[in-house]
């Protein structure tokens, strides 16, 4: 039994800021949704179902906010699903929405992901003592810094690779009017001169904390065909592994490797570095670009940083990564994964504006969450899937 082909026909996102004091949570979601619906030329009445995602409820201090948001989301009278898979949630939410179409249940599904981190305190929300589990209380940077250090040692990478990524992504963000950070003049030197937060991670190698939302309309083949430039969904994948296990490799997690392998197989891609035209991958700390390049199979283990150093991951390189400025430039956590998926779709639709990659026909959207243990990814293309 085959899937119904599905495509992204509308994309919207908010302007991301540290605090969107001008909007409630409902307003934030609507800013993204209304842009996605306008892009698709649809009204909420024409949408069959709503799929919403966000990271932990403690980030805003509301239990299951989709219940209170139901009216604002246009979900009163419709099916409403709420996905939560840690930092990968934005991607997983888009995947669940696409499943609704691919399963043949609905024709037009609206999916939205948000985080309004300024409503509460994310650091506090992540630092609640947990019975039976050693609290780290060092924030995400403190958790990931040892993995970065381990990567540098294993790959024998020069110490300025993270700064190259940060300078590249912050420069790309200048071309994205929605990005939270518009830091003019960020260079490798300025990044390396910024404060050391969690050795070897400098301040400018970290993501901001943002209020923001992203939304997409996903439609079935017969609907999508009536649109100028749908982004066809070629394949989706999710994989999870445990937080702590002695045999875990947190530098190159098996869940990420397995997910990528399954995705390339499902999409018929045998040489991802050549066949993928550009990629939006989840890089909240700059060093995760070379780490994920290897994890995704774009380069052999230990060689990811060489692509970065050679400038191949910049717009104009052989494998542009994070054309939008990435998580390093905007990080509304629950929406960050969906922003990656949406940017991949924008690219293959040829609608990425100043950060458009010429000739982008097939793109990867990638998200990860937890302690590098939850992965969600999709490949979208300008042409319908052949498989």
């Amino acid at each position: 039994m085959g899937k119904t082909p599905a495509a992204v026909i509308g994309i919207g996102q908010t302007h991301h800021r540290a605090k969107r004091e001008d909007l409630s949570m409902a307003g934030l979601c609507r800013e993204a949704m209304d842009r996605a619906l306008e892009d698709a030329g649809l009204t909420l009445d024409e949408v069959d179902a709503i799929v919403i995602g966000k990271a932990p409820d403690l980030f805003e201090g509301v239990m299951m906010p989709e219940l209170y948001l139901a009216e604002a989301l246009g979900a009163a009278g419709k099916p409403l699903l709420r996905v939560h898979t840690a930092g990968s949630v934005g991607g997983s939410t888009a995947i669940v929405a696409s499943s609704l179409v691919q399963a043949g249940v609905h024709k037009r599904v609206l999916t939205v992901a948000f985080e309004k981190q300024s409503e509460s305190n994310a650091m506090w929300a992540l630092s609640v003592p947990v019975p039976f589990v050693m609290p780290v209380h060092a924030g995400a940077g403190g958790y990931f810094a040892p993995h970065v250090r381990s990567y540098i040692r294993r790959a024998n990478a020069p110490s300025h690779i993270g700064a190259i990524v940060a300078a590249k992504d912050r420069t790309n963000a200048l071309k994205n009017p929605y990005a939270h950070l518009h830091n003019e003049g960020t260079t490798v030197e300025s990044v390396l001169a910024s404060q050391m937060l969690w050795d070897p991670i400098h301040y400018d190698e970290t993501c901001p904390s943002s209020d923001g939302a992203c939304a997409m309309v996903i439609a079935a083949e017969d609907v999508a065909k009536t649109y100028d430039s749908p982004a066809w969904i070629h394949g989706t994948v999710m994989r999870s592994e445990p937080t702590s296990a002695a045999e875990r490799d947190q530098v190159n997690p098996q869940a990420g490797r397995d997910a990528a392998a399954a995705l390339w197989k499902a999409t018929g891609i045998t040489d991802p570095a050549r066949e993928i035209d550009c990629a939006e991958i989840y890089v909240p700390f700059a060093w995760f670009e070379p780490m994920w390049i290897e994890n995704l199979g774009f380069a052999p283990e230990g060689a990811g940083w060489k692509l970065t150093e050679a400038g191949e991951t910049a717009i104009g390189g052989s494998l542009p990564i994070n054309m939008s400025g990435g998580v390093l430039s905007s990080n509304p956590i629950g929406a960050s994964g969906m922003l990656r998926f949406a940017e991949a779709a924008l690219q293959v639709r040829g609608r990425a504006g100043e950060h458009q990659v010429d000739g982008a026909h097939r793109a990867l959207g990638h998200a990860y969450g937890g302690g590098s243990q939850f992965f969600s990814m999709w490949v979208v293309g300008s042409q319908p899937p052949s498989n």
Partner: protein
């Protein structure tokens, strides 16, 4: 649609967890029961999906350590909804419909005894206008019950009849937290708790977990001699704001059951009604006649483990198919204040 069935079900429902086990400790034996029922092992499961709530656990990312119960090295194809596991079952059913997988294991868990549930659930309301007033779940349900009384849709005796039947049925359910039928007169003589509701009209605070196995086609027949084939599954939502809803009816339940293909021929319905009057609202909205046997497990008034009680209704309904007690059944789940969201799963046995 691709033929898909419920083929495995295990549960725990209790007043509170003795010894405060972690969720992984609680889930491991439940997953083991599912393996035993189906004859499968972890490697035979194509997709995993869970339902739970961080607020109930009092911490962020509560599902993260729960998936340790699966034993997730090698990694698994897995997802999570911040909802009752009935909605996780819906996501798993979707995944099977796409053809990507043939089997799925769904689980839900929640430890309501860790906090003051009716206060915790007040955090589901509009954070800007309602939550600061702290209207609790039981009081909101009482408003709903009062609306029906005032409209002449039910009287207090009708509520007591629901309770009497539930708690009598619960005597046969080893997992019931509250059981023991009485009489309508005796129930009505008890004191008010949140007028017009008495304590027995309100579901007990319950800890619990549940797991359900889904499978497509021949995989379902391989696992279960008489699978509970899903002939219709759908869900719908209403708005939250009480002033915009007619609390005496349930539009979302009506839409869900219509999308699931209706209830003609349904012999047994397991309804997730945490308050006695909500059973009456649901019976009407779902179009269930007097000949339909309602919640033979005792239902949510006997035990209501958060984030698994809806899935348990589907599992209990499926059991009626497996043992040949019924040929067509309905499992129902609800979520949100005053029946805001509703899910319906209609299942059939085939001879």
């Amino acid at each position: 649609m691709r033929e898909t069935a419920v083929v495995g079900f295990a549960q725990r429902q209790m007043k509170d967890f003795d010894g405060s086990p972690s969720m992984a400790e609680l889930l491991v034996p439940i997953l083991a029961e599912c393996y035993e029922q189906t004859g499968w092992a972890k490697k035979d499961i194509g997709f995993w999906c869970s339902g739970s709530s961080d607020y109930l656990a009092g911490r962020s990312f509560s599902f993260v350590s729960a998936i340790d119960a699966i034993g997730v090295l090698p990694p698994v194809n897995e997802s999570h909804v911040e909802m009752d596991a009935a909605w996780a079952l819906y996501e798993a059913w979707l995944k099977i419909q796409t053809g990507e997988v043939d089997t799925a294991l769904v689980f839900g868990f929640g430890k309501a005894s860790a906090g003051v549930l009716r206060r915790t659930l007040a955090l589901q309301l509009d954070p800007y206008t309602m939550t600061p007033l702290w209207p609790d779940t039981v009081s909101l349900a009482a408003l709903q019950a009062r609306a029906g009384l005032d409209a002449g849709l039910w009287d207090e005796a009708a509520l007591a009849e629901v309770v009497n039947r539930s708690l009598t049925d619960a005597e046969k359910n080893e997992y019931a937290v509250r059981a023991g039928g009485s009489s309508v007169e005796e129930l009505l003589a008890r004191p008010m708790f949140a007028d017009p509701l008495r304590k027995h009209d309100c579901a007990p605070v319950t800890d619990g977990a549940a797991a359900i196995v889904l499978a497509a086609g021949d995989r379902a027949r391989e696992a279960n001699q008489r699978p509970a084939w899903i002939s219709g599954i759908a869900h719908s939502s209403d708005g939250l704001h009480l002033g915009t809803r007619d609390l005496t009816s349930s539009g979302s339940a009506e839409r869900a059951v219509a999308a699931a293909g209706g209830t003609a021929g349904v012999q047994v319905a397991e309804l997730h009604a945490p308050f006695s009057h909500q059973e009456l609202v649901l019976r009407s909205a779902l179009g269930l006649g007097n000949d339909v046997r309602i919640s033979p497990s005792g239902g949510a008034l006997a035990a209501n483990p958060m984030f698994s009680a809806g899935a348990i209704r589907i599992g209990e309904a499926a059991k009626q198919i497996w043992d040949g007690s019924a040929d067509k059944v309905l499992g129902h789940a609800t979520s949100g204040p005053a029946l805001q969201q509703n899910l319906v799963c209609v299942m059939e046995g085939r001879n």
